[in-house]
Each structure stands twice: as C-alpha cells, then as structure tokens.
C-alpha cells in the first residue's frame, strides 16, 4: 500500500533554502511531498513548531540548516542540534522520533538537497501515514503528544537545553565543563519527569482522578504518579479535592 506523505520542511534562509532554490534552478527533480517554511536560521526552529506540525497530522518534519561552521549567525545550527536532540528524546517516548530529521545543506548543494528530501520521503512512505492524520487521529497518542508539547515548553527543559552548549562545551559558572553523560542524564530525567507531570495535568484537566486511575491511564507505577502529584501540588497546579472511601481524588487548580 502506497500513500503520499505530507512533509513540512523548515529551511534556513542562507544555506538550505538557497540549496533548494539551486535544485530548482538546476531543474533537479524530486518528489513533491514537502512544503517548505523559510526560517532565518535552523536555530530559530522552536521545538514547539515540530510538535505542532505533528499534531496537525503531518507525516514528517524536516529541519535543514547550514553545515557546521557555515552558519550565517555563527552558531545557530549548534543550538539547533541541541534542540533537535531534545525533540528526538521526547518523540522517542511515543515512537515518533523517525518522523523528524535534521540535516545540513549548503547553498551549493542542490543535488544533495534533492537526494536528502527524496530519501526522507521514501523513508516516511515506508513507515506509513502518521497515526495523527486528521481523518482519524489516534486520540491517546494525540494526548501524549500534547503532554510532550507542554513538557518541552517548561522552564526546566528550556533552561537545560538553552544552557547545554555553554556548560558542556565551553565552561559553566565555576569555570568547569560538565560532562556530556552527566548532562544527558539530567536532561533525560527532566524529560521523563516533565512528560509525566504534563500528562497528569492534562488528565486532571478533563476530570478529577485518583492516583491509581492516573497510573492506569499513563501506565506507570502509582508510586511514581504520587511523587509527581506531590510536586505539582507544591507548584499549586493540582489539589486534593476529596477522599472517596480511602482514595484521595485530585483536581487541577
């Protein structure tokens, strides 16, 4: 069964977009499945754009920037890598990570551009249509993706990603470098925590629930749910509304 994927491309103005133009000027042919949004730099691509695109039912998202070292804004593409890594980590939770891709294409690489795009389209064709396509979106998956979107927007994640290069590649405030392993561990924990918290919040926004109900829905240990409920309670985002029999019910405040 074959289908025509719908793919969104974010192309940086100075290299990739120019590369795409070159492909056109050179009349290099490639499949028509990608729609392009021009951005000034790949670093401009907010992870939120990608999550939004996936929620809209697009089958793939392609981010393209200048080659490392060529960035018109010096280091924008370095930042793009960090953000993209975070996006991949989040999407792995819901197995959507292979629907997004990051590559570098220079202004002179019209051929490379068309090859990469063709390849990505083929890969997406192989995976099949997005489970979030508008006609029949997978509601559970959509909810998870919404949670991801919210989690990725949290101060904690954005702060960590925003400082990653400074603390792992240059030096932190103490003049030291933090090893990539330590950083990754921190980011992984943060992603995991914030994802669960967002899921809890989204569930509670629909209706009050108990720890066990939430645990069953998210499919994690009730103990972990309780821990995170307490954190959310500390942030005044949830509250205990009543105790039914022996089970407390929580609500979104």
């Amino acid at each position: 069964m074959s289908f025509e994927p719908r793919i969104l491309g974010f192309l940086c103005n100075w290299c990739s977009y120019a590369g795409a133009d070159l492909a056109g000027v050179s009349r290099i042919q490639y499949p028509p499945n990608m729609r392009v949004i021009r951005v000034m730099c790949s670093g401009r691509v907010d992870p939120q754009f990608i999550f939004e695109a996936l929620q809209q039912g697009l089958d793939g998202v392609y981010v393209m920037g200048c080659h490392i070292g060529d960035c018109h804004y010096l280091e924008g593409n370095h930042e793009a890598i960090k953000k993209f890594n975070m996006v991949i980590k989040f999407l792995s939770i819901v197995n959507l990570e292979n629907r997004v891709r990051l590559d570098w294409v220079s202004a002179s690489e019209g051929v490379r551009f068309s090859e990469l795009v063709s390849e990505f389209i083929q890969d997406i064709k192989n995976i099949g249509p997005s489970p979030l396509r508008r006609d029949c979106p997978d509601k559970r998956l959509m909810e998870k993706l919404k949670a991801i979107e919210r989690a990725a927007a949290s101060d904690r994640i954005r702060a960590l990603v925003g400082r990653e290069r400074k603390i792992t590649e240059q030096e932190n405030v103490y003049g030291e470098k933090v090893s990539q392993e330590i950083y990754d561990e921190l980011l992984n924990t943060a992603i995991h925590d914030e994802y669960i918290r967002s899921r809890i919040l989204i569930l509670l926004e629909k209706e009050p629930k108990s720890v066990k109900d939430i645990a069953a829905e998210i499919e994690i240990d009730p103990n972990k749910v309780l821990e995170n409920i307490l954190v959310l309670k500390g942030r005044a985002q949830v509250d205990m509304s009543e105790i039914v029999d022996i089970t407390p019910i929580y609500v979104r405040t």
Binding site: K166, I167, N172, E176, K212, P222, I229, P248
Partner: protein, 1004 residues
Amino acid sequence: MKKVGSVLVVGAGIGGSQASLDLGDAGYKVYLVESTTSIGGVMAQLDKTFPTNDCAMCIVSPKLVETGRHQNVDLFINVEILDVKGEAGNFTVKILKKTLHVNVDKCTGCGICGRECPVEAIDIFNEGLARHSATSVKYPQAVPLVYAINRDYCIGCGICLGVCKAKAVEYGMEDEIMEINVGAIILAPGFDEYIPPEGNKYGYGKFKNVVTSIEFERILSASGPYSGKILRPSDGDVPEKVAFLQCIGSRDYRDGQPYCSSVCCMYTTKEAIIAKEHMNLLNPTIFSMDIRAYGKDFDKYIHRAQEEYGVRYIRSRISHLEEDPKTQDLIVTYEDETGIIAKEMYNLAVLSVGLNPPNDAVYLSEKFGVDLNEFNFVRTDIFNPVQTSRAGIFACGAFTSPKDIPETVTQASAAAGCVNQLLHDQRGTLITEKSLPPEIFVAGQPPRIGAFICHCGINIGGYVDVPEVTRYAGTLPNVVLADRNLYTCSADTQTIIKEKIKEYNLNRVIVASCTPRTHEPLFQETIREAGLNRYLFQMANIRDQCSWVHMHEPEEATRKAKDLIRMAVNSAREIQPLERIRLSVTPKVLVIGGGISGMVAARNLAFQEFETYLIEKGSVLGGHARNIYTTLEGGNVQEYLSNLINEINSNKLIHVYTQAKIENIEGYIGNFKTSIIHGEKKEKVKFKHGVVIVATGADEYEPTEFLYGKDDRIIKQSEFEKLINTTDDIRKKKSVVMIQCVGSRNTEHPYCSRMCCAEAIKNAIKTKELNPETEVIILYRDIRTYGFKELYYRKAREAGIFFIRFDETKPPEVRVEKDNLKIIVENPKIGKISIDSDMIVLSVGIVANGVENEEMGKMLKVPLNEDNFYLEAHVKLRPVEFATEGIFLAGLSHCPKSIEDSISQANAAVSRACTILSKDEIEAEGKVACIDITRCSGCGMCVENCAYNAIELILDRRFGLVASINQVLCKGCGACSGNCRCSAIDILGFTGEQIYEMITGRVE
C-alpha cells in the same frame, strides 16, 4: 594561660541553640557553628512533640529566630572543624566556612532561584519524600533563611544568577578558614537515625509501603510533602491499618545497636495519635517488647493513646515483614504474649528506628580530643553527664546518649552552667554594647510618618503595583514621605531610612514588606540608631500575606496592599514611644532543698561568687541520695555525697540553714525578700535575693501492699540496698524476689517512677556478685532500662536473674508461711506460678510531698501537676524554670529522675539563673499591660487570667481595691485586657486605640 570569655558551640539543633542563648544572655561571646545550612536540627523536622502534642514548629521557631538574631551569638552555617588547640579556658579552633555560593548578607530567602533551578535534587529535610532544587533552603521557616547552592547537584548553568534580583548569587565565593579563640567548647551534634541497611528483613527500600518513623514524621507534618494527609507511598491511598514496629536498630545485638534508644516508644505513640487525629479512619497498631514510658506524664499519654484513640499495643517483637505483591500490603507475623502465632495484614508499616551516634562522631572525637564510649557516643563523667573526658569541653543532647527534647534542653543549659562555672570571671569581657544616640523627644508632636515600601525584587513588585501603592501611601493623612526600595531590608536601605528620618523629621516609620516576625527587630534597630524610640515603628506584611498568596490577582493584591498600609498608618498615628523598664538585680540566690540537686546548684553558684542561701527542712544535708550507695553504672554515691557536703559546708559564700522553714517570700525576679526560721531554736533570718531555685526533692513511697510492715523479710528496695552494701546477710539468702512498680503506675500514682527498674537490676546484679547461689527473681510489668541502662538488663539476664512479667490487672500475691514467703504470680504465657522465697524486695516509687509542695507552690505562686510534682513553664523547651520569672526548678520535685539527671538539672537551673544574675539590671519588654486605676473595679478577673502572676489586687488610697500590674513579669499577651469589663487595662504597643484605628480605617 589567660582565660577567654567566649564559647564555641558545635551543632545548632535545639540543644546547641539553647546553650548559645543561655551563654549569650549571660554575657559571653558565642560562636555557634552548624554543619548544615540552617539551624533547628531534628526538632524542626517534627510535626508534634510528646506528651503534650505541641506543634514543634510553633514552639521552636521563635527560639531559632532569637538565636539567629542574638547580638552575642555569631552563627556560622555550613562549617567544618579543622583543628582544636589549647586547654580549658583558652582554646584556639580553626574552622572552615564552606562556601554557599550565595551571599548570606544579601540573600532575602525569596526562593526564586530554587523555583527556576532546572536541576531537581532530593530535598534532605523532607527525608527524600519531596524534591527540591540544587539551590535550596532546608525548610520554609529556616533560620537563617538563605538559599544555598548544592555543588553536588549544581551544573553551573547560571540561571539563578540571572533571576536573583538581590544579586546574592556569587559563584566565585570561596571557602574561608577562620581561627577563633574560645574559653570553652560545647558539643551538641545530635544524632543520626538508624537506617536499615540494604537487604534488611523489613523490606525497607524494597517494599514501598515500609517507611521509617522520621519519614512518617514528615508525612504527618502539615508543612511536609503530603501536607499532613496520611497516604501510603505505593498508590497514594489512605492506609487504614498501620503497623508500627518498635526497636528497629535498637536493643538488637545482631543488626543494630544493643542499647535502648529511649525515645521511640513515646514518639511512636505520638505518631499513632497524630495519625489518628489527622485521619480518623486509620487504625494504628504498635508492636513492642516493653513500653518504655518512663518520663514525666508519659504513662498518661500511653493511656490516652489506648483509651481515647484506640491505639492497639501488642507485646511482640517483629522480626521480618512480607509483602503481598498484588496489593503491596504488608504481612506481619507475630507471637502474642500467650504464645499464639498470628498473621495480620497492614496497609502501611512504620519502622521506629533508633538513634545512632552522629555519623561524624569519630571525626569530632579526634578533632576535639574527647573519648567516645563503645557505641561512639561521647563518653561523659559518671556524675556529670555533660563533662567530656577533656577539661573545658562539654557535651549535651543526644550526643551523650539517646534522649528526648526536654532532656536535651536541660543538658544544654547544664553544659552552659558548667561553662559559667569555668569562665565566670571572663563574663562580659568580649561582648560589645552598642552605643546609641539619645532618643529624640517626640511625645505630643503631630505624627510625621515615613512609609517605606519594598519591591522585594519581584516578590512584591511582580504582583503588586508598588509605584501605585507608594503614591497612595503618600496621600494618607500624616504621611510626609512615601518611598519605595528594591530591597528595604538591605544594608544600604538602612542608611537611606536613617537619612530620611533626619531629612523629613520623621517620628513614625512604616515599612511595608515581609513579615514582622523576622524583620521587625532589624527595622526597629535602624530607627533606634537614627534616634527614634524603637517602638515608633509599624510593619505592613504585603509579601507573605499578600503578594505571595494572590499571585494571580494583581489588582486585588494591590488593593489589599493599600488597605494593609492604610491600616498600618492608622495604627502608627496612635503609637507612643515606650520605655523598657529597668530593674536592679540582687546577685544572690535562694536554693530550697539540701539534696544533691540543691547542693550542686549552690556549689556552682558559689563558685561563680554568687552568695547563696541553702535551706534544708531536715537536720542534715543529702536528701534522697543518702539511701543510695552506687549508681547502676558503678558511681560511688556516698563518696560523691560526702565530698559535696564538705564543699558546701566549707564555702563561705554558701549559708546553710537546716531544720529550716520558709515563713514568707515576697517580691519578684531580681528582687525577692525571704524570711525563714531555722534550727532547733527557731531563729529568724531575713535576706534578699535575685532568684530562687526550688529543689525540694520527693519522698519514697511507703507501701501498704504486699504485707509490708507485717513481716521483716519484706523490705523496700532502699532497705535492701543498705543490707547488701553494709552487711553480709545476703550470703544466707537462698532466694530473693523483687516486685516492681509498687506505688507506681497505679490509679493512685499513675506515673512511672523511672529509676526502680535500674535500681532493682543494680541490686540484683550486686546480689549475684556477692552470692551467686542466691536465686534472684524480678517480677515486672515493663522493664524500663532506657538508654545505655539496657546493657545492665542484658547483663542481669546473663547473670541468671529471672524476669517474670505480670499484668497490671493481676498483681502478684504474697503469703507468709511458716519459714517461707510464698509469692504467686501469673504470667500471660506460662500461667500461674508459685515461688518460695526468703526475702521479698519491693521496688517502691517516688512520690511528691503534696502538702509541702502545695504550700510552697502557693508561696511562690507556681503550679503543680496532677501528681503534685512542680509544673515547669514549658514541658519541652523550658524544663528547668517556672512561668513566673526568676524561679527555677531542679531534681526530684520536678519528676522522678536519676542522680545524674538531677545534677544536670541543677547545673541547668544555675545557667538559667545566670542569665539574670550576671546583669546589674534587667530590662523588661516594652509591650506590656498598663492599667488605668480610675476605671478599675477591682473585680480580679485579670488576676485569674494572668498566667505569669504579674497582676495582683492592691488597696489604693483613693480608689480602693484595684489591680496592679508588675510590668517586669508581664509578657504582654493581653489576656487581662481582653477580659477587662471596664476597659481599664490596655496593652502598650497593641493598644485598643491602635486596633480600633486599624478596624475603622476600612473606608474606601
């Protein structure tokens, strides 16, 4: 070597804080060092305290704030001890001040850094139950309230620097080494709780619904992670059945410590009661070997737990727990007293973990050169439990042995008392009195109010429209200046406030910022430095009680801030300057009671050159101790006693009066007048003194039960002690049976006399030593060998002494047969047994002399408890003093206790007394009650309502019977004023006028 008038206190829990306050008040310079980042120790983690169910935070936080602000106490947090040199009187201590990376002087504790920190680390204070960030403060009410960066977790992202408006974050801040010179050292590092190791039999760490008691304490706490709701960790449900397992890590020769941790029986009972109070559907069960409720009013507490709260006690030690993997409930298997094995299911299990010595005990002992005992608690003198093996270094609290809060506080004061004795001639040499300008005369002038409104970074400014509020404040009547500051509490703002006071001729100052509970004294000091009376100040709390609690309603918050400021201005208009009354102090002491407590107190005081009057009702000194030959630990009591009596008799500053009776005591703190009659000739003596120490002791219970008095082979424990220590008669005895709890823990005397178990075991062991052939049987209800005394219990069992338990409802029966005494006792497990014996020893309790205590209580206006022992000012934090100031308490008249504890209490009473005696004059708080006698009808209601005996009715020449207030004794609570039917009494600083103005100022 020259002595130095300063003291180092190591550890700032409740013990260290108390010792620092005592010494600071007595005129010594105190360096209080703490290894963590805030003071308060374990007590600040507790929800409630036994046996009164007092809220721990409510009672401890004022004390911590006082410690943090005391002008003679320098507090250093996050400190490590590097080196100690010197000798008693002059030590040099090198300490390492580890950097917090936060400037303590600038940090306002607002907590933005903590909220913005992307790294969530474990929150130590909540025992791992809640998370905190890498920059954190231990708990919201911490003293000092500063955040610290935890370098173990911090990744150096720099976000906190960016968000801190106070510019307090300084990553470059380095560790600092400091050398301090002190005359004495007090070690108060506290304890660390036992943590069941990996692979433990209770599944702690593996089963989610097994928690330790200290974790449970945080679960209970209203400010803990569960906000006081009791939920089980596995699924957040309310556990209906909760099992408490006693002696985890205590009385355990295999996996834990062999000693008894002293406090677990009581804290578990408290946790069970509070849990039940918080959630009524919960049913607590406590599994324990003995119930060791040996302290004052402890047994009554256990009774309440059983009767009122339905707490179930099962006499069984649980050796392991199993988990039902499906429900994650826990299965407890136990053998009850009758020998039946049962299995029960519980939803939550709490392990009552014991008290271990502090983790750094060995390190401390090496640095300070003090010996440890075999368990790594500090080794102390046999008769002075606060004296370490090195002169000039004292210890207090759980570092000397596991103990509860009042005993810790007592020991802390006792250690301070010993420091007083050592350094008394250096008192006041290292502290500086601040020189202040004379006060500007403002009475009668129209109010000129200056209002300073704080942005508190964005803490207020982010939610309240501060410029608008400032503009509004400027429009209020009598406000001549309204100004706003980024941080009103910062050092530079203090200078600004002082300048503005001069520039605008301000005579009232208002600060609208955070809470007066922590910041009022700072601003009062500032205006005083500018020459204004410190009471011409008023605060509006627009942060803690406004911006922080209405973060989503900025308009309403702004309106509320305006209201609060208007109310403050209205109140300020009515404020009058207040004076603190000063009173001279007679540096002499009356000690009532010539037992060990009284004599130790008198000796210490005389050593410090305070003239002391020691009066004894009997004809000789020595009191209860005259019946005791040794202590359980082997101290020679008679030798100690005779040395002490000699010292007392040979000291010229101690005036001893025997066969003495107090005729009259009048006066108040600093100025008492007493007349006594003494001696056979009933001579009359009168003297003046500044304080009173009550150490009148207690009596041995005179038994009527068990045929005492009917047969001379039935004797009291003290008689038995005399027999084995002075005669050889014991060699002829084949069998001795001791009966415990005679005249204790019954309806007539519902309390435990605490020492009888130890006394019985001591004499039983001695008997075995003298004649191994003698069979010794001890009939008991609970064996209460708390602390290290537990070791002697084991020793006794090993020596072949039999222990047979009987139930309260089925006491043993004694019969006199021809040559024999027969005892029939019923044990729940083995049933009825009859024992033939040729001697029965009754372990009789300690009873208060109700008649004498009542008479004395009336004379001194101090209260007694239900058992006729004296009632201290506060069961937890003021154990050696009365609510009436200047009167202190020590020894058996407080409650049954050991000789060592009596000695500690006596030294503690001396320390508390020194905070008064060391001053030429004492200063009373200015916010006190005052009376308009023209309105007083003399009804006497206020006299009854005053808890401090500060009011009495006097006969006025013009107005007849009227109330008279002793402002020195008044604490300013206002109970009198609130009840006064004639509005004759008002409270200065909180006058009715001020409050009415605040009420009526609503119009908008």
